[in-house]
């Protein structure tokens, strides 16, 4: 520690060089802190549960085009056939696929009338097989009965009587009631049409992963009379590939005047939905790694040169009795001093950059836990980089002091 004074004075003779390393450390830390923060924020988004049994589910689209295409007949016989297949657990027609970013939303209100406060929710139309196919559990109330399911088409304006809500949606509508108390309550759709809540399910995401109320979903006991129809299929555990093959084969061999579009697994749907997020993560990781390497190499280069320049002084110090460890610790201490300046600037930079990102791009605010972690990381990188050159400096023979260049 007694070395700090002389090291500081020596540094002051090459202010610019030291300042450059410090600045480099500062900017590197600024980028790393904000990049890691972004990576984690996206990781949190991607880590949210959809509520599904994604590994075993897939969907397939059927588009009827024949003039005599009879949608309800085809849908009912398709579903009947698919449910019989040996590798299939269950299947439903559904109007929107979770996480696919396309779907239908409506507002629900607890009081009837226009202008009343309304809570937005996604709408999934399924039959009584919906809960099992989606793999969501009822926590209160009951499932739809087969007799309750009705067909609707795009011009249908009225709604069936009973609905099942996610717990999150139920809580937003009735913050003071427990799930069992909410069962049996009435909510209003399209301002005035009453719906009875017959069940509360644990969790099911809306189709839009970026939606602020992504946990608000509602099941409606409807099938959709349209030539364009999607079936969500849940395979028996581990039999997804066989199920896809069997479902496609079954549907294609039926001659009912429709085309079968390619199957997409829920794993693919999730990947597509979060593709931008995982790509951003990959890019930011690359930037972080390359940045650390560049900063480390820069320090190696600068220190090596300054050691070369000071060979005679080092030799002289050794000749006057300095241990190898003294020489090592000289360079390590010098590095820690420079890095510390950089780290302090880096804290300011990180916070400033984050504030700017928050205000310009609506990104989440930085959690301060990243700062000490990044500081330790920067010191480690600095010491790691300086270790090799310092070790070589310590090997300089004392005899060099007596030589002329």
């Amino acid at each position: 520690m007694s070395q700090i004074g002389p090291i500081f004075r020596a540094l002051m003779r090459n202010k610019v060089g030291a300042l450059l390393i410090a600045l480099q450390v500062a900017v590197t830390m600024t980028i790393i802190v904000n990049a890691i923060h972004l990576i984690n924020a996206r990781g949190d988004l991607m880590g949210r549960s959809s509520g599904l049994d994604e590994a075993n589910q897939f969907y397939v689209t059927s588009v009827g085009y024949a003039n005599d295409f009879d949608a309800p007949y085809v849908i009912d016989t398709d579903l009947g056939g698919i449910r019989q297949l040996p590798s299939v657990d269950d299947a439903v027609q559904i109007n929107a696929i979770p996480m696919s970013n396309g779907g239908w939303s409506m507002g629900l209100q607890t009081k009837a009338g226009e202008g009343e406060n309304s809570v937005p929710t996604a709408l999934y139309m399924t039959d009584e097989h919906g809960l099992n196919t989606l793999d969501v559990e009822l926590i209160a109330g009951e499932n739809f009965k087969a007799t309750e399911i009705s067909y609707r088409d795009r011009n249908t304006r009225d709604w069936p009587q009973s609905v099942i809500l996610t717990e999150a949606l139920a809580k937003s509508l009735f913050p003071d009631l427990s799930p069992t108390e909410i069962v049996g309550q009435t909510v209003y759709i399209q301002s005035n049409e009453p719906l009875t809540i017959i069940g509360i399910m644990d969790h099911l995401q809306a189709p839009w992963t970026g939606w602020t109320t992504v946990n608000h979903s509602m099941l409606v006991p409807n099938k959709f009379d349209s030539p364009y129809s999607r079936y969500l299929v849940r395979a028996k555990p581990g039999q997804r590939e066989q199920a896809i093959e069997q479902v496609e084969q079954f549907m294609k061999q039926r001659e009912v005047g429709r085309m079968v579009r390619e199957t997409e697994t829920m794993t693919q749907v999730r990947m597509d939905s979060y593709r931008g997020d995982s790509a951003l993560q990959a890019i930011l990781w690359t930037i972080i790694v390359v940045l650390c390497i560049i900063t480390a190499l820069g320090i190696v280069g600068l220190v090596s040169f300054s050691i070369n320049r000071r060979r005679r002084q080092i030799g002289t110090r050794r000749a006057l009795g300095a241990q190898k460890a003294d020489i090592m610790s000289y360079f390590l201490t010098e590095n820690v001093m420079i890095t510390s300046v950089g780290v302090i600037l880096g804290i300011a930079g990180s916070i400033a950059l984050n504030m700017w990102l928050v205000s310009s791009f609506n990104l989440p605010r930085l959690s301060y836990i990243y700062l000490p972690i990044a500081m330790i990381a920067m010191w480690t990188i600095g010491l790691f980089a300086v270790w090799g050159p310092a070790l070589r400096a310590a090997q300089i023979s004392p005899a060099i002091a007596t030589r002329n260049v």
Partner: protein, 437 residues
């Protein structure tokens, strides 16, 4: 003389090959990262129709609920109702104007082994092709009378024509779409708009449509809605008709206005139209009509992805780190050469000459870094394409102006990196360094 400087620089660089590599490598990485992200941002924010983007205007009318705006603060909806889209077209005060809607339908190509396919459809008026400079390979858009009557005329994209007619001139032939026969009136040439500015409501970089049909068919064939449909109150009454007469927005509208005066006149027309509708009990909100030109609309719809912008700023900071790195290394390296420089000064070289000699060395590093950077940028763009897939199709490629930006960036970077070290080295007084050693 420059040749001599070049040789000197080369010798100096060769004396420390690792260090030279590190310096130009750092610049290359910085430029590579910066160019990759600049390219993406440049292409995302590019003007899709530069020859007339300031003369094409997107129309917004505020038919929303009296209780709340469509979007805070007091933004009108980003689309129109069917009622308004057809009325604006029917009254047609401007020379060119068109309504647009997305739809979809099954096309059944005739012939053995040809599978039916689901086609992306664009419902529009014939002004569309004139306004947006669509390139025709065969034929042309449909007639005004086809627009009014809602004839089953169709314009195919190049790829759809290849799929259905193997690329032959199909004008006059028929296509089966949604179970109905359509007459082909035109086939487009390859046409890609990035962004597809005329409808960005479901994503600015979506693919172009497979076929274009007269707008009126929406009503007569009851074609399905695609894209976003937003309603502040539910359609009243039964049937498809009730949707078309409802306050639900699902339609876009563009108008071409060639002068400021035409713009003013069109705006007064819109205001008069809304006032007229208010008398019928529609448009409960205060007058809030908008006319926005292409680039203004792209800005309003936030076409450049926030992630792309954030990455660009981070990579510019990354470039800054690389430059700081190179400045530091050059400084140290040059300070090592003080003896040599002082000697040269002592034997008669002017400061200017020395300055030039050092500059040649930094330019070497800069050029090497620039070339390396462009190669890395090309690799980086391949990586982006791999990571994002179809989302960035045609958005991840270098073109001539971008290469220019890249080279400029490399030169500025190396001059920035070299200027201070060079200047400082050349201030050494002659002979001062000769004494000690």
């Amino acid at each position: 003389m420059w040749l001599y400087y070049t040789r000197l620089a080369w010798l100096s660089l060769k004396r420390h090959p690792l260090l030279s590599l590190l310096m130009s490598g750092a610049i290359a990485l910085g430029i590579g990262a910066a160019m990759t992200t600049i390219t993406i941002n440049y292409l995302m924010s590019a003007d899709p129709i530069p020859e007339k983007s300031d003369r094409l205007f997107y129309v917004q009318l505020d038919n929303w609920s009296p209780n709340e705006p469509y979007d805070e603060p007091n933004e009108p909806p980003d689309q129109l109702t069917y009622t308004d889209a057809t009325a604006l077209k029917a009254q047609a005060p401007a020379q060119l104007q068109t309504a647009l809607a997305q739809s979809g339908g099954v096309i059944e190509p005739q012939g053995l082994g040809k599978e039916p396919f689901l086609a992306r459809l664009r419902l529009t008026h014939n002004d569309f092709f004139t306004m947006f400079n669509s390139p025709f390979l065969y034929g042309q858009g449909w007639s005004d009378s086809a627009d009014e009557a809602g004839d089953r005329s169709i314009v195919l994209s190049k790829s759809a024509n290849e799929e259905i007619f193997a690329g032959e001139n199909s004008v006059g032939r028929t296509v089966r779409l949604e179970g109905k026969e359509f007459r082909v009136v035109g086939v487009l040439d390859e046409w890609v708009l990035k962004p597809r500015f005329y409808d960005v409501t479901t994503g600015a970089f979506n693919e172009m449509e497979d076929a274009y049909l007269p707008f009126k068919l929406k009503e007569t064939m009851e074609l399905p809605n695609s894209g976003n449909t937003n309603c502040w109150k539910m359609p009243e009454g039964e049937g498809f008709k009730s949707f078309l007469t409802s306050e639900c927005v699902n339609f876009q509208f563009w108008v071409q206005l060639d002068s400021a005066q035409e713009q003013q006149e069109y705006m007064s027309f819109l205001n008069a139209y809304v006032e007229e509708q208010k008398k019928l009990g529609r448009f409960p909100r205060p007058l809030n009509n908008r006319l926005t030109d292409v680039m203004g609309w792209m800005e309003h719809e936030n076409v450049v992805d926030d992630d792309a912008e954030v990455m660009m700023y981070l990579s510019l900071m990354f470039l800054a780190v690389c430059l700081l790195n190179t400045i530091g290394l050059l400084l140290t390296k040059f300070s090592f050469k003080t003896g040599e420089i002082a000697l040269r000064r002592a034997v008669g070289a002017t400061r200017m000459q020395l300055y030039q000699q050092q500059l040649v060395e930094t330019v070497f590093i800069g050029v090497a870094g620039g070339i390396g950077g462009l190669i890395l940028a090309a690799l980086g763009l391949l990586g982006i394409e791999y990571l994002y897939g179809d989302q960035v199709k045609d958005l991840a490629s270098l073109n001539l102006p971008l290469l220019g930006i890249g080279i400029l960036l490399a030169i500025i970077s190396s001059v920035l990196a070299g200027a201070y070290p060079t200047w400082r080295t050349c201030r050494i007084p002659p002979a001062s360094q000769l004494k000690s050693e």
